[in-house]
Point group: C2
């Protein structure tokens, strides 16, 4: 999708800190954004806050309607909601829509620590998404970006390593990452590499805990 073409982004499961932060940043960058939630009223509330901070209108809708209106669906949900939400959204994707999955299978989902990940049969949350949505191109991205920094105003010192088997999904995710000040997108290869990128989030949580921060991220050096 080139410049000048109007594109709609839906951030589904988007009322959590990662979703609202991404929506804020993209609204500021001039993207047309819909916040999706199970509860349209909650989505509305989140969207209103973001709109007033971004100085730009962010729409809101129930997840299914948000998905149906979107060219790019961005998924930011706790892992427990990942498969159920994708199953319910499946019939509602537009013909050429792509999915950007930021989900991390933190073991906190089952009451264990957020510094560990669950083993996912498909390999990663993103590969699980691709398995559940065989017709939708999937890119894994944004798992490692601090939600606290996304919800702030400054540039974010972090690389976004994007994994996808689809060129269009890869390029769209890269473009969206590069629209957020400070972030740098990197081609992380095949979707299966999301196994590693997702786990890095658990390691960043360890480093945050040990260093009493909420802002850990990563930069790849030497390229």
């Amino acid at each position: 999708m080139g410049t000048g073409v109007s594109r709609t982004l839906a951030v589904v499961g988007g009322t959590g800190p990662e979703g609202t932060g991404l929506a804020l940043r993209w609204a500021r960058a001039g993207e047309s954004v819909i916040i999706g939630s199970r509860d349209a009223a909650r989505a509305r509330e989140a969207a209103d806050k973001i709109s007033s901070r971004a100085g730009a209108q962010v729409r809101a809708d129930e997840n299914t309607a948000a998905c149906a209106a979107a060219d790019v669906v961005v998924l930011t949900v706790p892992f427990l909601g990942h498969a159920p939400l994708l199953k319910s959204l499946k019939p509602h994707f537009k013909q050429d829509a792509i999915l950007i999955d930021a989900t991390v299978p933190l073991a906190a989902a089952v009451g264990d620590r957020p510094t560990r990940t669950l083993g996912v049969w498909a390999g990663s949350a993103a590969e699980q998404a691709a398995e559940l949505l065989p017709k939708v191109p999937v890119a894994a991205a944004f798992q490692n970006v601090s939600s606290e920094l996304l919800n702030g105003d400054g540039p974010i010192e972090c690389d976004v390593i994007i994994c996808s088997d689809d060129t269009r999904a890869m390029n769209t995710a890269r473009e969206l990452a590069d629209k957020i000040p400070g972030l740098r997108s990197l081609d992380g290869g095949k979707l299966e590499n999301a196994r590693i990128v997702e786990q890095i989030t658990a390691l960043l949580i360890t480093l945050n805990i040990r260093q009493k921060s909420h802002h850990a991220g990563l930069r790849i050096t030497g390229l």
Copy 2:
């Protein structure tokens, strides 16, 4: 081990690029280093090259003898040699010796790609080491440092995320990382977190391939 106390480092399986690079850097930093190899003559050859580059004497010996002389044993072997070497070294560790494991279970070990890792029953190469050597404190470290940069002369733009369940092993590994110009040590928590750090190496190999580099590393930001 404080300053002023003479300590011996053995880099076992140390004639490969990671081992020679670490030995070079530590010899330059004034550490007493022995290169170990299955073949004492090969170890001698590698040690001679390193000695002339470092301007400091690096010793050489067969792996077992190198281990027996060491206060700190550093393991830099392809994954296929990991368990067999540790089993053979087990009776030869000094009473208070520690092990620093830099091994990554790249799938290249079984003819698959170096951009993937094998599943290790213990969780990671470093946990496998700890299982094989129940009396030796283990730290996982240095997996993500470019061997090409280690074998060069410049500072290395990379963080060394160290995972250990033992304070002395953690501190020794941190100290040794911080002796190499550019490297920054970080406390990466428990030894089990080596699962993630080891896999990051496979991701760095992907990034190297995609960007035609051999120098990919990482810096943690936001701490």
